[in-house]
Symmetry: none
Subunit: 169 residues, 2 copies
DNA sequence: TATAATTGTGGGTGATTATGGGGAAAAATG
DNA sequence: CATTTTTCCCCATAATCACCCACAATTATA
């Protein structure tokens, strides 16, 4: 609901609706409170794309990631193809799956964040959390950490443009 | 096939767990107590995927593994396909088959862990055990061992981002 | 602007779950 | 064959979890 007071061009319902191939399109950032039971409300405009099961897991840079099932399936398939005879295959498998958690939205549109993941992301109970839409999935951040990471990334972009050259975007 | 020490998960010829029907999906880690009768409760959310017979056996890294029957069949088939002339084939056969034990959940959702397997995993009676979901099967760990292994794996991932990149996620 | 609908958030309550223990059946032992 | 031991099933219970309802605040609608 509250959009951190900034102009958000992706606010409209139209843009968040499905486009053709039924893949979700999550855009924008929102701040919600994690209640004392570890529940986090998912923005109402994202809920249509998150019916049925979803997967919450550990993301990079100490944030959490929420995947719709179809996106998760792609990842799980790749991880499942790793050889269990290779220690590195076993490690990746464990890192990916052991901290993942499948969940469903309750009737109020919330999900339960397991304690372990909450702590990994530096989130307490009865605290704010930032939900960031990244087109195909969501990220959940502790506000301070999001602030900081976001700033550092902008800085990186400004100071060292060469870093971004070979991305072909 | 070249093996220059680099990890390419998709080039392994030894043992790759295949991608099957998306029915089973074991995710997350849970701590339960192994009671003085050697029984271990399986998390309720996993039980629907473990009706009928399951297989408990030794895993790599001194943990135990629990397979639903269809997944076990796949693994057994792959191990059987390994040439007995290859020392690795012989080793894997012994690890997987020699102490395998078929079991069923009792009406309270528990399985009985045979003594030999318990000892292999460093588990006593009336102790805690960590049950780790790895999507298609489960692992059972002595808490200290899991703690240590997990920490080392995280480290490995942090120090070696190339491991992630092979996954193309 | 007034009214209706939706959304975020909190709390209460019934259902589920983890886990210990008792007792019947089966197996082992002498 | 009798007795002890082991194995396994089922019940009981306390704690946890998830569902549901309610309210307040915001947004949409007329």
């Amino acid at each position: 609901m509250e959009e951190n007071g900034e102009f958000n061009p992706f606010h409209s319902q139209i843009l968040t609706a499905t486009v053709g191939n039924a893949s979700a399109m999550f855009l924008g950032q929102y701040t919600y409170t994690l209640d004392d039971k570890g529940r986090l409300t998912i923005p109402a405009r994202f809920r249509d794309e998150l019916t049925g099961s979803i997967v919450v897991t550990r993301g990079l840079d100490h944030c959490l990631t929420i995947y719709p099932m179809d996106v998760w399936d792609e990842i799980a398939q790749k991880v499942n193809a790793l050889p269990i005879t290779d220690p590195r295959g076993r490690a990746l498998r464990r890192v990916f799956f052991a901290d993942a958690s499948s969940a469903e939205l309750d009737r109020q549109g919330r999900i339960l964040i397991p304690d372990r993941l909450r702590e990994y992301a530096g989130l307490g109970l009865t605290t704010e959390a930032v939900i960031v839409g990244l087109d195909r999935f969501l990220e959940i951040w502790a506000p301070e950490r999001w602030e900081e990471t976001n700033a550092r990334q902008m800085e990186m972009m400004d100071e060292n443009p060469a870093l971004w050259e070979n991305l072909q975007i």
